[in-house]
């Protein structure tokens, strides 16, 4: 609890000032400076045994876009993310990143931090460098990534002594350290408490903005999706049922009327389809 408060307070205290700074930062970037990779998916299908999880996904994500994928449990959203990240192989269809992506270009962050308990925080971040682990500037890059997530003072700690939010920030630093051009998030904040979630959402938005990668966020939390993403995809029964643009300028005020309205309409769609299939 002490931890949650400590890194929430600096954000919460001078509200006006941070908002102003954020405004300036977020306004500075246009889509043309993105170093992310575009993503094109055609006719993607995946079954596990009899169960067809994805039934033909067609999707184009422009470079640098922040896309959230929502849907009920078992709708196939996590499978789609795992396919994009190359953790599963598809039964049919293609996924392409525009140009040839190196393995270091696509990174995933999971709901669990998946840190090596026997490696100090800094070596855990170095794991993220992939083939560059042995290079001479590995430590420097890892330190930079830790600073990026605000944990440079924890570099020598064991993961076991960190709080849940801190562990997840180390995992984020590990994903960021190779300067990925596509970052896939599989419910990265699902296991965190409400306050930590909010500050982590801000952190995600900030690093996405600073590093300009293409972000794909799978979440069951519609309010998180509309708060962070440029575009929300609703997946139902293995297909993209809705593709909603979130045209609300950043920084977004949590709890503002237009965010709430959009969240409400997406939730209605989800509930409607739930009533139709009536398996709730």
């Amino acid at each position: 609890m002490q931890e949650g408060l400590r890194f929430l307070l600096p954000d919460a205290e001078p509200v006006e000032r941070t908002d102003f700074l954020e405004q300036a930062r977020l306004a500075r970037r246009g889509p043309e400076v993105s170093r992310g990779l575009p993503l094109t998916i055609r006719g993607l299908r995946k079954s596990f045994g009899e169960n067809e999880v994805l039934r033909g996904i067609d999707l184009h994500i422009p470079a640098g876009q922040f896309v959230a994928i929502v849907g009920r449990s078992g709708c196939g959203k996590s499978t789609l993310l795992r396919l994009i990240a190359g953790l599963e192989t598809s039964d049919a269809g293609t996924i392409s990143f525009g140009e040839q992506a190196r393995p270091e270009d696509v990174r995933v962050m999971f709901q669990e931090p998946r840190l090596l308990p026997w490696a100090r925080v800094l070596s855990n971040v170095e794991v993220g460098l992939g083939g560059d682990r042995a290079s001479s500037n590995a430590q420097m890059r890892a330190e930079r990534a830790l600073t990026e997530v605000g944990l440079d003072d924890k570099r020598g700690q064991w993961p076991a002594v960190l709080s849940g939010g801190q562990k997840q920030r180390v995992a984020l630093a590990r994903a960021l350290v190779s300067d990925p051009r596509v970052l896939a998030f599989d419910e990265p904040l699902g296991a965190l408490d409400a306050l930590t979630r909010i500050s982590m959402q801000r952190l995600l938005e900030r690093v996405w903005h600073d590093q300009a990668f293409t972000a794909i966020l799978v979440t069951h939390d519609v309010s998180e999706a509309v708060a962070l993403a440029d575009r929300v995809l609703v997946i139902e029964d293995g297909r993209i049922a809705h593709d909603v643009a979130v045209d609300i300028p950043r920084p977004r005020r949590r709890g503002s009327a237009d965010l709430a309205a959009l969240e409400g309409s997406i939730l209605r769609e989800l509930l409607l389809s739930a009533d139709e299939t009536s398996d709730l």
Binding site: A85, L87, P103, E104, R107, V108, F110, E112, R114, L116, P117, W118, A119, V127, G128, L129, G130, G131, W158, P159, A160, V161, R174
Partner: protein, 268 residues
């Protein structure tokens, strides 16, 4: 005093010096009661000699060099047997934990052999090796093999698959994956095996030395029995206790050094 005192708790007030002494209160108390019982004649010296007599016998044997020689011989047998059996067990544990083929090929056989009490092989071993060194080494190695094999195998099989997936995502080669994820993950379980094995190591060695040997602690005890030197018999038993405790402490130190990341070993 509550029953859950041993569970992890918030650090309280501690007296480090007293803390180190507490484990020795009971053994020292027993010695004291024992001495009193012998001195007052409550226990006849033919049944149990007084601790002071045992110490005296120890001193004599120490002076003659016999004690050191026998301890050294036993220690040498124990460690060589442990190293041989432990290495083979570790190697099989690794192979069967990492390779399906190896596991299918050998695990069933090993599980069958495991169920034979290894001390039951003593007659056979004497027929094979006589009362040579190799007989003792063979028995110790066999006894040590199984706890290390089983716990290495278990440790490797229970490494968090999510961590292995993470390692693969981040482009670890098989070698790196083993070195950075699988081996450190299996280490706590391997140490459990080592501590079990140390216990079995002494047990096996003493039995083997008692039955068929011409040197070593077990032999010393058996010879003392022949000559009715009960103080030497008791002395040998006490030395076993001490050596067992020493081996256990050594493995604990090693554990603390290599598992410092583990929450159970963290000093606050």
């Amino acid at each position: 005093m509550s029953l859950i005192e041993n569970l992890p708790r918030v650090r309280g007030l501690r007296l480090p010096r007293a803390d180190g002494l507490i484990p020795w209160i009971v053994p020292l108390g027993i010695l004291l009661v024992w001495q009193l019982a012998c001195v007052t004649g409550f226990v006849p010296a033919r049944v149990l000699p007084a601790p002071s007599d045992v110490a005296l016998a120890g001193w004599k044997l120490l002076m003659s060099g016999e004690l050191v020689r026998n301890i050294w011989v036993s220690f040498w047998r124990a460690s060589v047997g442990f190293l041989i059996g432990g290495s083979i067990g570790f190697a099989f544990g690794l192979a069967n934990g990492l390779s399906q083929l190896s596991s299918k090929l050998t695990d069933t056989t090993l599980q069958m052999v495991r169920n034979i009490p290894h001390l039951a092989l003593i007659p056979l071993v004497i027929l094979w090796f006589g009362i040579d060194e190799s007989a003792k080494l063979f028995l110790v190695a066999l006894g040590v093999f199984f706890p290390i094999y089983l716990n290495t195998l278990h440790g490797i099989r229970t490494v968090d698959p999510q961590l292995i997936e993470m390692g693969r995502i981040y482009g670890m080669t098989d070698g790196e994956l083993f070195r950075r994820v699988i081996f450190p993950g299996a280490l706590p379980s391997i140490f459990v095996g080592v501590r079990f094995a140390l216990g079995i190591m002494w047990l096996t060695l003493i039995v083997a030395e008692t039955i068929a040997a011409s040197s070593g602690l077990g032999y010393m005890a058996m010879q003392a029995r022949e000559f009715m030197l009960i103080d030497v018999v008791v002395l040998s038993i006490l030395i076993y206790a001490l050596l067992g405790k020493l081996a256990d402490s050594a493995s604990r130190v090693l554990e603390r050094l290599t598992l410092s990341w583990h929450p159970a070993f963290q000093k606050h």
